[in-house]
Amino acid sequence: MKTRSIIILVGIAVIIGALLAYSVDFSTYDTIESAKKKEGKFVHLIAKVDLSKPIEYNPEKDPNYLAFHAIDSLGGKTLVVYRNSKPTDLERSERVVMKGTMRDNYFECKDILLKCPSKYKDDKQNLERSINQQ
């Protein structure tokens, strides 16, 4: 068991470690400003939908094109293009996590995660809001 299996163990661990290092090109959480400096790199943005500008989505013409403006907590702004269907309640979301790449004049978004105000029942404010609506 001893020497041989230890050699094999170390061997496998090294192979997997190498694979891991080689394979995983990790992304980062960025602000819109810092993402603009990393044009072409896959990043995660945490921002808000800018409701003062129109959201463009015409599913009867093209269900796979959504464009809107996002603004983050530091005031960075960008146009976002998401070539997929519009997540329901995008307008109502408090925060969106967008995964994608910054291009020269817009953010090419691959995936959107919404944080909606009332999805989280354990949030006290939401419970208060809901009970006041009764």
């Binding site: 068991m1 990790f26 009867e60 997929n84 329901t88 995660l113 419970l127 009970i131």
Partner: protein, 849 residues
Amino acid sequence: MKFVGEHLLPGQIGHLFVIVAFIASLISSISYFSAVYSIDETSRLQWKKIARFSFFTQIAAVIIVFSIIYYICANHFYEYMYAYKHASKELEPKFLLACIWEGQEGSFLLWTICNSILGAIFIFRGKEWESPVMGVVTLSQFFLFMMVLGIYFFGVRIGSSPFALTRNEISAPIFSQPNYLSFISDGMGLNVLLRNYWMVVHPPVLFLGFASTTIPFAFAISGMLTRKYGDWIPKALPWILFSACALGTGIMMGGKWAYESLSFGGYWAWDPVENSSLVPWLIMVAGLHTLLIYKATGRSLRATYFFLLLAFCFVLYSTFLTRTGILGDTSVHAFTEAGTAISVMIKSFLFTFLLGGMFLFAKHYKKIPAIHTEEPTQTREFWMFIGSLVIFLAAIFIISITSIPVYNRIPGIKDLIIKIHGGALAMPEDPEFVYNKVMVLVAIVIGLLTAITQYFKFKSTPKGFFIKKIATPTLISALITICLAFIYPLEYNKFGLGFLGAIYLAFFSTIYAFVANLWYIFSVQKANWKKAGGSIAHAGFALMLIGMIISSSNKKVISSSLVNGITFNMGAKDPNGRNADDPQENLTLIRQVPTKMADYEVTYTNDSAGNENGRKYYHLWFEKKDKQRNKIKEKFMLQPDVYLMKDNNMSSNPDTRNYLTRDIFTYVSFALKEQQDKDTAAFRESIINIGDTIFYSNGYLILNSILKNPNNGKYHFTSNDVALSADLTVVGKDSIKYAAMPALEVDNDHLHHLDDTIYAKNLYVRFNGISEDQKIKIGVKESDRLIDFVTVKTYVFPYINLVWLGIVIMCIGFIVSMIHRAKMSRMLSALIFAVICLGIGYMFLLANN
């Protein structure tokens, strides 16, 4: 203030029994450990008596607590926070259970119930191991009850009680009135995604799996405390088999739920919540194999200790990941952001058991017997050990990637990450591929080892035996793989030929594992089913992997433009240009207009309301035609739905057509909301005779006839009614004809217009009445936008049933082994086998229909 209409008694009783259970589990734990360390027999028995008594007391308390929570939720006592948060009046009784384990407190209670059941069985079968093992089990019970305690200790609240009152938990103006309850009309209700059959059965099985990992852990601890390092192994084996079975089934039931009610299109997404329950299972399976090695050869006992201790610690780590909100944005599963108090308690639970276990392991490491010679490569134990190591390393790989959000929170490491990467670490562009590309290699190795290892014998294998026995299954599997590669090739080209090659290797190796294990049952074990548990479980596991490889490689999005040609782009502008290989995966279906989707023609025919308010089903009619004979080969209706929940969130629930060999899975990716801006177009009236024509901008209408009290496909009037309908034919520019049948009805001196809509032409037709000169008044309205449509995404999953069949077979294999190893009486064995098999068969096949 005195409040009106509150039911405070059940909550007070419930809270009292939570405290009883908490204290009883502590007493039980202390007494069990005292029994372990007492020197004389009389005090040992006395301690054991106290321990048992308090253990059964806490079982009774837990049952009472759980019944009261059920009572409160079933009766909609919204003065309790738990009922307000999780229950609602429209919930069916079976979902009342699901709503209890939706919440943090209810799921901890479910865990304590599972611990209680296993503990009670253990008391009857544990014999000399009862005291030390139950000491650890009751200690974990103590921590679990602490989570739901809800009492203040020096101003700090310990645990959150399921019996907390709504008015104490949140502040709102209505609570200043004594009759505040009359203002709370209904609770928030169960999240609609969880209103699924699998959410009723999956949590109990999964928590039974979690709870069952406590016992192998406790055995390992007991082995060290009593210094009988290897004696517990045969006793622990059936418990480990049970644990692997329950946890594995629980995880895959969760997969079945995700497949049926989530719209990501699949049963596994390498989500942190899924990963963190898979990891303990993998480590438990690794520990199971090293334990078998020890039992047969006396080797690898230390590894067994290590794996069994870690399996439970990773269950606790999983609890920490999923319940403290540390995963934040990384998990799709909406888990709750818990308060810091509960987070501290979960951490203390984790660190008590992890550090305690590891400290003992380090202290006793040298004393745990080990054989210091090398085993030859021609033995079963050698290859089994390699397999266990690979499984263990795979688990470590998965958990180290899953823990990325944790690294971002650890001071020191956090700064280092920001220094190197310039921001908090996040998953790469294709998070699933990170796992898949390593796991495909793991599958190759594990598949091969599962196939060949049983053909070696423990200690030494006679020359020629291995080659002679393995040759046939090897040949058969190679043939099957080659045939399949031609008849039914795998088509996963997204990551190039290299990865496809790896998938093919994994395909061969899992087929090999399946065939070789079946072969082993018949050729070596001579179909002695009692002893074949291991091979059955291996074959089931292999079958599951085969199903996963086929269904994920050949899954197709048939609503995609890649399948249908880029036909559906009605002049939409896309200012930023579209990447040619960026598929447009969503397809818009206009009401009543058949649309091509791969081989199908899909029509959104109509919609209907569900049981719950705000739920809308879209009826999609699928037809497949035989082109030559123009006959319909296949037709079915799918009804995915969209649910606007009370909190105004929309939720989209898929619908699936199941065939033996494939599933057609569809969900609504975009739906119109009810409140549309008003249509500005108006009806234009024409007064005509029968046979005359009305023109509109895109064609014309012909009035065919007028029917009195029609009784046909559209209307069902009788001779007592006063109704007229007009039969019109609409002819568009494309000369396609549609029938329109608006009607008029007089009912209690009121005139009703029953308009007809030609959705495909955006046309409304109204029967306006009959003019004085006996002419017919027909109103026509042309809407300037689409009247009704829905956007969907549709997948075809081939052979997904192999995945479910595989898990069921694996589960049966574990049970066969467990019964064999537990050395129970024939009657009891047969009974347990029958009950579990019927239960699994019922849950997977029947209960859901």
